[in-house]
């Protein structure tokens, strides 16, 4: 069992239960606050068009699957989900791989000017995307990458890189130096040390960084809208933005679509949290 910040021993069993119960209740209400609007979306997505504006009733008398039908079968959303998955997965891979190499170098290897480097990397992320979007678009057009998934994935990877680098540098820093030096003494090159020894230890950091980059890329809208043009290349948020016609906003369809888009990410989060929680239990830190 992982030693943590919680109670140990059997002191005051009932009081502990009270504290635990209270924490639980608070967590439930925090969860409801987080979930509330999403639940409301779910309810909206099964309301018929007439009921959308009526309040009461909160729950529709008759649930309808017409929105989901329209969204999944009659719109390009399904294809765009695949595109989003490809883009997000590759952006995450590139970002994490490149980012962890760079973070490792910044954390453990003696290169010059680390604060400057970190600052520079961060400042590229500080610049507002709206000013960058036009030159970036022209650059992509010049490279012949207009309307391709590569352009979007690459852009996402680059703009998520600062977060990945900063996070992973911090996590690598927190790993004990001895682990790295032990690996080096064993005859590994720095790269091998990174791959076989340090990365497994930095799993919570990697998991968090990967999840955040994935979510960023999955939900990113402005670059995805600008760099893509045809239906077959669109990503999911852009597909949702194409639901409204002139003036008309099909609320039920958008609610259904937004749930469909959110679920894969939620599933991924569920998968990843195991790694986040793992902590330093791998047993590598011997006394």
């Amino acid at each position: 069992m992982m030693p943590g910040a919680g109670g140990n021993g059997s002191r005051g069993g009932i009081r502990r239960f009270g504290v635990r119960g209270l924490a639980f209740c608070v967590l439930i209400s925090a969860g409801l606050f987080c979930l509330g609007p999403v639940l409301w979306q779910a309810v909206t997505s099964v309301k018929s068009d007439q009921d959308l504006v009526r309040l009461p009733p909160i729950l529709p008398e008759q649930a309808t699957a017409s929105h989901y039908e329209r969204v999944l079968l009659q719109s390009p959303l399904a294809r765009s989900l695949v595109n989003s998955a490809v883009v997000a997965a590759s952006a995450t891979t590139v970002s994490i791989v490149v980012g962890s190499f760079c973070a490792f170098a910044l954390a453990r290897l003696p290169i010059a000017g680390k604060p400057v480097i970190l600052g520079l990397v961060l400042s590229t992320s500080m610049f507002p995307p709206i000013a960058v979007i036009s030159p970036l678009y022209l650059l992509m057009r010049g490279l012949g990458l207009r309307d391709t998934l590569v352009a979007v994935g690459l852009t996402h990877a680059v703009y998520a890189l600062p977060l990945a680098v900063w996070l992973l540098t911090s996590f690598f820093r927190q790993l004990p130096r001895e682990v790295y030096y032990a690996a080096r003494v064993d005859g590994c090159t720095p790269l091998r040390a990174l791959l076989s020894v340090l990365l497994p230890l930095a799993r919570p950091g990697l998991a968090v960084a990967a999840l955040l980059v994935f979510i960023y890329s999955w939900n990113e809208f402005m670059f995805a809208l600008t760099l893509t043009a045809s239906d077959s290349i669109r990503t999911a948020p852009v597909a949702v933005a194409l639901f409204p016609g002139l003036y008309e906003i099909p609320w039920g369809d958008i609610a259904a679509a937004s749930l469909v888009i959110t679920l894969p990410v939620a599933g991924l989060a569920a998968l990843f949290q195991r790694h986040i929680v793992a902590g330093l239990t791998a047993g590598s830190v011997k006394g």
Binding site: D49, R146, D147, T148, A229, V238, A241, I249
Partner: protein, 425 residues
């Protein structure tokens, strides 16, 4: 292991790259860029396929942009400015033609629509598309503000649809007092800080013989005062209208919670849909005016233009001619509910069957005046939107608002060639 994963993704990437601008040998590929239309997307696609059949050797690729006017403007600005725009035909909002023409981004289309034929179309869009006496875009579909009202409520209180704004206020107050329904409001209109607000403000001011940017100040102030008083004075409009756009007002009215609504004609078919609470109870009339002046609906709608950089201008021109031909306009009007720009179609019998309310809209579209026809329009609009919005919520008085508007106008347009100060814009 990691290497394998990376390789796999690279493979997927490469496979999913569709080369853009693919040209089948010998054939011309026309790229038609436009905002998403409401309704069934296949109607337009079928029309384009038919064009392809009539013109062997031409393929058309339709590329959609979000329906939001702002996003489309952003896209066009980025692409047209760089030269070599990757499309051959674009849909433009009526308020953009002047600035695109001045920038040299779109090419004149006088040959497509010679002077003699222009009066087959409504004069408003043609005026908006004419820059330095040359026509730069062909009207595709048209829009203008109209007044919706609840026929059943007015009938119940023996009132007829108002023809002046004071009459509208009186009717609204009467009905609200009589109905005593906490959920019912008198008059809903688009008051959010965006282009729609300028449209409505212009409709009110122009129907008082004034204008926002120039002209009689007294009557302009009176018009502005009317806007604010619907909320603060007469209380027939809720404050939440200062955040309302077309869809919000349509939903409020469509749920039976409003007596009058100012909106575009698109809402009618939605209000008459199966299951709508106000089905069969809605009437549409031209907007009211102030006593002694005429109703002044503002022109909306979209046109078709060809970028200057396109090497396929003739083919694009053919497509424009096709899309604005009477038969295609008739089809689009009956299937998608968009209003045709050809005047003759409003007396067309087959169309009248599919769109019974169309003939009533004819005088409205005929009298619809465009917003200021100048390349400076978007600058003017952006400068003025915050002022009018401040008026709507009561942060500024009509006098202050008008002064600010005139000051901005002077700063933007007053100096000549070409000095557009960014200060305070």
């Amino acid at each position: 292991m990691i290497a394998r994963v990376i390789l796999a993704f690279c493979a997927v990437f490469v496979l999913s790259c569709t080369p853009a601008g693919d040209q089948p040998d010998g054939r011309t590929l026309l790229v038609f860029k436009h905002g998403k239309l409401s309704g069934d997307g296949t109607v337009l696609s079928n029309l384009l396929r038919e064009f392809e059949q009539r013109h062997p050797g031409v393929t058309i690729r339709e590329e959609l942009l979000p329906a939001s006017s702002d996003q489309q403007h952003q896209y066009y600005a980025m692409n047209l400015d760089g030269g070599q725009a990757p499309f051959d035909l674009l849909g433009v909002d009526t308020i953009w033609v002047q600035e695109f023409a001045k920038a040299g981004w779109i090419t004149p289309l006088d040959t497509l629509l010679p002077l003699g034929e222009r009066d087959q179309f409504f004069p408003g869009p043609v005026e908006a598309a004419t820059f330095e006496e040359r026509l730069y875009a062909v009207p595709w579909y048209i829009d203008a503000g109209v007044l919706y009202y609840r026929r059943d409520l007015l009938d119940r209180h023996k009132l007829s649809p108002p023809q002046t704004w004071p009459e509208l206020v009186r009717s609204a107050k009467l009905v609200l007092d009589a109905e005593q329904d906490a959920d019912l409001v008198g008059f809903v209109w688009q008051g959010k800080q965006y282009e729609g607000l300028i449209c409505f403000a212009l409709e009110v001011l122009r129907s008082n013989g004034a204008d926002l940017w120039e002209g009689d100040q007294e009557r302009a102030r009176a018009g502005l005062r009317f806007l604010r008083e619907t909320i603060a004075g007469h209380r027939i409009t809720p404050l939440s209208m200062s955040m309302a756009d077309e869809e919000s007002t349509r939903r409020i009215f469509g749920d039976g919670r409003a007596l009058f609504m100012r909106n575009w004609p698109y809402a009618r078919s939605l209000l008459e849909r199966e299951g709508s609470p106000v089905r069969g109870k809605v009437g549409v009339v031209p907007l009211p005016s102030f006593p002694g002046y005429a109703s002044a609906p503002v022109l909306g709608g979209w046109l078709l233009a060809v970028p200057q950089s396109s090497p396929r201008r003739e083919a694009a021109g053919e497509l424009i001619r096709y899309l604005t031909s009477p038969s295609v306009q008739r089809l689009v009007a009956s299937e998608l509910g968009y209003n045709p720009t050809r005047r003759a179609l409003y007396y067309d019998e087959t169309l009248a069957v599919a769109r019974p309310g169309l003939k009533e809209l004819y005088p409205v579209f005929l009298g619809a005046r465009p917003r200021p026809v100048t390349p400076y329009y978007l600058l003017l609009s952006q400068a003025v939107q915050p002022e009018v919005s401040a008026l709507v919520v009561g942060l500024k008085t009509p006098r202050e608002t008008l002064e600010a508007v005139r000051r901005h106008t002077e700063r933007i347009v007053g100096q000549r060639a070409p000095s557009v100060s960014a200060e305070g814009l």
